[in-house]
């Protein structure tokens, strides 16, 4: 068994069920999603920006090498929460992709127009 197969099997065994959405396509995978620890703090809350509340927390995603992730496009649903893939990279040993890891942020839903009632 290759290293990719071993690690893939381990991710499938220990990971939780997630849904990976790419546009209209969605697949179910098993992956690890956990809060990203930063040196300055364990948890950072929300910051107010003109568009609304922006989460400062990041999440680490580790999935099998075949998991299709696109930056700023793929949405991950795990444990009822939605995340957006911000950065992703594949870990490669030799010519073999072993696993994929990504940094996720909280997904902000599409905002409704708030000035309709004044039309």
């Amino acid at each position: 068994m290759s290293i990719a197969q071993r690690i893939g099997a381990e991710i499938r065994r220990r990971g939780s069920s997630v849904t990976v959405q790419n546009g209209e396509n969605s697949i179910c995978e098993r992956a690890l999603v956990q809060p990203l620890r930063r040196a300055e703090s364990l948890w950072r809350g929300h910051e107010s920006v003109p568009e609304g509340l922006l989460t400062q927390s990041g999440y680490l995603f580790i999935g099998t090498a075949s998991c299709p992730l696109e930056e700023n496009s793929t949405v991950i649903i795990a444990d009822g929460r939605k995340y957006l893939v911000r950065r992703r990279e594949k870990y490669v040993v030799g010519d073999e992709s072993v696993y994929v890891r990504a940094i996720l942020t909280e997904f902000g839903e599409i905002r409704e127009d708030e000035f309709d009632e004044h039309a």
Partner: protein, 142 residues
Amino acid sequence: MSMPEDKLNSLIAAVKSSPDVSQIRFVREHGNKLAEVPVNGALCVVSVKSLGRLDRYVGGVAPSGGAAAAYIAECELLLYANQNSGGSYLYGLAVSLADALRNADNEGSVGKMKIGAQESASYSASIMRRVSFEAVFEEDDV
């Protein structure tokens, strides 16, 4: 709702009636909802940078019967588009928004207007331009 806020709402509602800006969604600044990440299509945040009260007394002396309240507001329309949509799309949309604002100004309250340089809002995977303008909002009845 205060008078200047009401006037601004009416102005934005008139802007929205222009077909050239029909794809833009307008939201209030610093709301308590999660920011849209990533930005889909075009999103405009209506912002009031500052608000000042104008004294409209003849000769600068307060009359006994009161005077019409007037406010001068520095407003910004923060126009966001997905970063994949490209700068020319955003620029065209900003010009359409400025035109729609000028056409919607039936009361002549909008003064100088400016479209700012394109900025990157990487946290929401978007690009942004500011359409800023000054407006004088006056009470309808004295």
